[in-house]
């Protein structure tokens, strides 16, 4: 086992404990984000040179699986993987990244996977003036700034701008997502920024592509965590619940469906594990996209089966099944259905 494998293994154990503590009501009661900072998770994916722990996709995958298993509300994905991931790829964003890693600054992600930038940036003297509406910015009500992707004037390409939410011209309208997480529309109305707040090196398209890949893998890992619970709960329920005088798990047609759930879970688990271990490069990107697509195929099917096999109890708000199903569904709506990523997948194929 390599050194990295060791660290990831230890991290996964910490995540398990953290999730179990929160599930068991043993959460600290303090600010969850501060807890994550104390655990070192905010540093975890970034390169050691930048002050991070260098655990990359493997580390993110472990933390995100925990988010899925425990349905954690902390915005690790948008703040650390998306916004922080973009900052870590911008040479001039070292200060902002350091503040993110320290938990001092909470930056939301003002860009969407697979969608062109919704914001425009017009040159304005030495600086910029931003306008437009960015929908579905996750956890923006917990952020103090948003990193937006914008189309800069006539020059083309995509720019990355760090926008404080307290700036004049910034409005945020928040709303609950179907799974209970919160998001918001960020409306920029002629927001003036100094030149220094544009953080990319001329065109952010390529780095945003990498961030999107990392986002898909992180979301796949979260889905994996969620569907693992769905599978385990359904299997346990099938052994317990009796109908017609027998445990329903003794009916062969249900056994086969549970076996298929187990296989679908294993397909996601295998792709997420390989993608997380693959480092960089086209094979890693291919595995990440495949992991995301498979996580939706498997997630839909495991989720629907989990509700069906639980019967009416699975339909209730009190039971956990629905919450897990909604988490996976909302992730799909946020990051894009399988077929929307087929072209991306094909573009990563070699030979």
């Amino acid at each position: 086992m390599s050194h990295l494998d060791d660290e990831i293994h230890m991290l996964a154990e910490t995540v398990d404990r953290y999730v179990a503590d929160r599930a068991g009501g043993r959460a600290s009661g303090g600010d969850a984000w501060t807890e994550l900072a104390d655990l070192g998770w905010l540093l975890l994916p970034y390169p050691e040179a930048a002050g991070g722990l260098g655990l990359g996709a493997a580390g993110v995958s472990a933390v995100m699986q925990g988010h899925g298993r425990g349905l954690l509300p902390t915005p690790y994905l948008p703040f650390i993987v998306m916004a922080g991931g973009a900052l870590a790829r911008c040479p001039r964003a070292a200060d902002a990244l350091a503040a993110v890693m320290a938990g001092e600054r909470r930056v939301a992600a003002g860009f969407a996977v697979g969608r062109p930038a919704a914001i425009t940036a017009e040159p304005d003297g030495a600086g910029w003036r931003l306008g437009g509406t960015q929908p579905h910015v996750l956890a923006v009500d917990e952020a103090d700034a948003v990193l937006v992707a914008a189309r800069p004037g006539a020059e083309g390409g995509t720019g990355l701008f760090l926008v404080g939410l307290d700036l004049p011209g910034v409005t945020v309208e928040t709303y609950p997502l179907p799974d209970g997480r919160r998001a918001g529309r960020v409306i920029l109305n002629g927001v003036a920024l100094p030149a220094a707040d544009r953080l990319d090196d001329g065109d952010a398209a390529a780095l945003l592509g990498d961030v999107e890949t990392a986002t898909l893998l992180a979301a796949a890992a979260e889905n994996l965590g969620a569907m693992q619970v769905l599978y385990e709960e359904t299997l346990a329920y099938a052994k317990l619940r009796k109908q017609f005088g027998r445990p329903i798990g003794s009916f062969q047609s249900l056994q086969f469906r549970l076996v298929d759930m187990w296989i679908k879970l294993d397909e996601v688990r295998s792709l997420v594990a390989s993608a997380a271990a693959a480092g960089d490069g086209p094979e890693a990107a291919q595995l990440a996209v495949a992991a995301w697509i498979q996580s939706l195929w498997s997630g839909r099917s495991i989720g629907e089966e989990a509700i069906q096999l639980h019967g009416a109890i699975g339909m209730t708000e009190e039971h956990a099944a629905g919450r897990y199903v909604k988490r996976i569904l909302v992730n799909e709506l946020l990051f894009g259905a399988p077929e929307r990523h087929f072209a991306r997948y094909r573009s990563t194929m070699q030979g």
């Binding site: 709303y175 017609f244 509700i307 009416a312 919450r323 569904l329 709506l333």
Partner: protein
């Protein structure tokens, strides 16, 4: 095998269509179209519109005070009804309590209960399921002990749709614990205002409240509220099941939903999306097959044959198609579905894409279709045993 409609039948269908179209309030149609939540008043107000033509208890024979439609007219009624965004009328009185009462009740019971059902004065709910006894009625635990001219009822019902709105509940209870379950169950009508009844809401994953738990604690039910013989409740419940399956294809509703999704796709400028067009066409053909399975079964029952257990196929395919449509709507609207709010679902707040507003809640809500009314697994068991004769 052919189903040719007479001129009289066609005129009937036109009458239904015109009356419904003229009397469906715009606001109510909008709520149904966009999958917003309906209130008790939405239902009862609309059912009054139906009752004014004696079309609320549309399936009842003339002897029971119903319109006495032929099977063909019933089919044409459902088709016309499904084509418009009308609320699905509450079924527990007209399709369940009513038929049991007019088939197995005594004259006094018929006079006492049928007008209130038919005229939409009483709101009914169904007390079948219990914790641990869903599709498996043999596991019922609620007891009714005879004490003079009353039964003392104790137990708990669950998944009781609209118990919170109901005036009456028809209920399966155990009156004899000694015999095998099929012989010891009786069919009682219980006034929901009786002392000892507590209704507790069950919220579902779509955030809605239609299910309830009903706790029965020393509830005293007059013996005259028992339908038929003591110990024969199982027979009456079985009698209802086949009716229920026959009406559970939901084909007319699915036909309407399909055309709404197509309209939404056009409004969103997505007509050129080949994958979407294929999914729509594929579901359209699946639905056509369902409709013609239903027509054939109908043609046979016109000829006097009881649809029998075969009707399970309509429940299976109808619910599968309805669920596929609810998923297709989510896929069509994609991230537009994210802006979800109870205020929209309760019709308090407008939305820029109202068709997306209720899409997720409907997708989640429709998961129930394959669970309730006898889960699709139970329907397949029925078909395997009774039609395919597999041991």
């Amino acid at each position: 095998m052919t189903m040719i409609f007479s001129d009289a039948d066609k005129a009937f269908a036109a009458d239904v269509r015109d009356y419904l179209a003229a009397n469906l309030p715009e606001e109510l149609a909008r709520k149904v179209r966009y999958n917003q939540r309906l209130t008790r008043d939405d239902y009862t107000g609309w059912q009054d519109v139906l009752a004014a033509r004696n079309w609320y208890a549309v399936g009842w024979p003339a002897e029971a005070g119903g319109p006495g439609l032929t099977q063909t007219q019933r089919y044409l009624f459902e088709r016309a009804y499904g084509a418009l965004p009308c609320p699905h009328p509450c079924q527990f009185g007209i399709a369940m309590a009513g038929p049991v009462i007019f088939t197995f009740g005594n004259e006094e019971q018929k006079e006492r209960f049928l007008p209130g059902i038919r005229e939409n004065r009483d709101f009914w709910c169904q007390g079948y399921s219990e914790p641990g006894a869903g599709s498996d009625l043999a596991a019922l635990k609620t007891t009714a002990v005879r004490e003079g001219d009353h039964y003392r009822v104790n137990g708990q019902k669950i998944w009781t749709t609209w118990a919170n709105w109901a005036d009456w509940m028809f209920c399966l209870v155990k009156t004899d614990l000694q015999v095998k379950p099929q012989r010891g169950i009786s069919f009682l009508l219980i006034d929901m205002r009786s002392p000892g009844i507590t209704v507790r809401p069950i919220r579902t994953i779509d955030g809605d409240h239609e299910f309830n738990e009903v706790f029965l604690n020393d509830v005293m039910v007059p013996v005259e509220n028992r339908i038929g013989e003591e110990g024969q409740g199982w027979t009456y419940a079985k009698f209802l099941l086949e009716f229920e399956r026959f009406s559970m294809s939901g084909a007319a509703r699915s036909r309407r939903v399909l055309s709404e999704i197509r309209a939404d796709a056009e409004a969103l400028g997505r007509t050129g999306d080949a994958r979407l067009a294929e999914r729509l066409t594929g579901l359209e053909i699946e639905l056509l097959a369902l409709e013609h399975m239903e027509l054939r079964l109908l043609a046979r029952s016109v000829g006097g044959e009881n649809p029998g257990p075969e009707a399970s196929k309509l429940k299976i395919r109808g619910t599968e198609i309805a669920q596929a449509l609810s998923r297709l709507r989510v896929d069509l609207h994609a991230e537009d579905c994210l802006v979800h709010s109870d205020a929209f679902l309760d019709a308090l707040e407008p939305s820029s894409n109202p068709a997306a507003g209720g899409a997720v809640a409907t997708y989640l809500n429709q998961r129930k279709l394959t669970i309730w009314g006898g889960s699709n697994e139970v329907q397949r068991m029925i078909l395997a045993k009774q039609i395919l004769e597999l041991g």
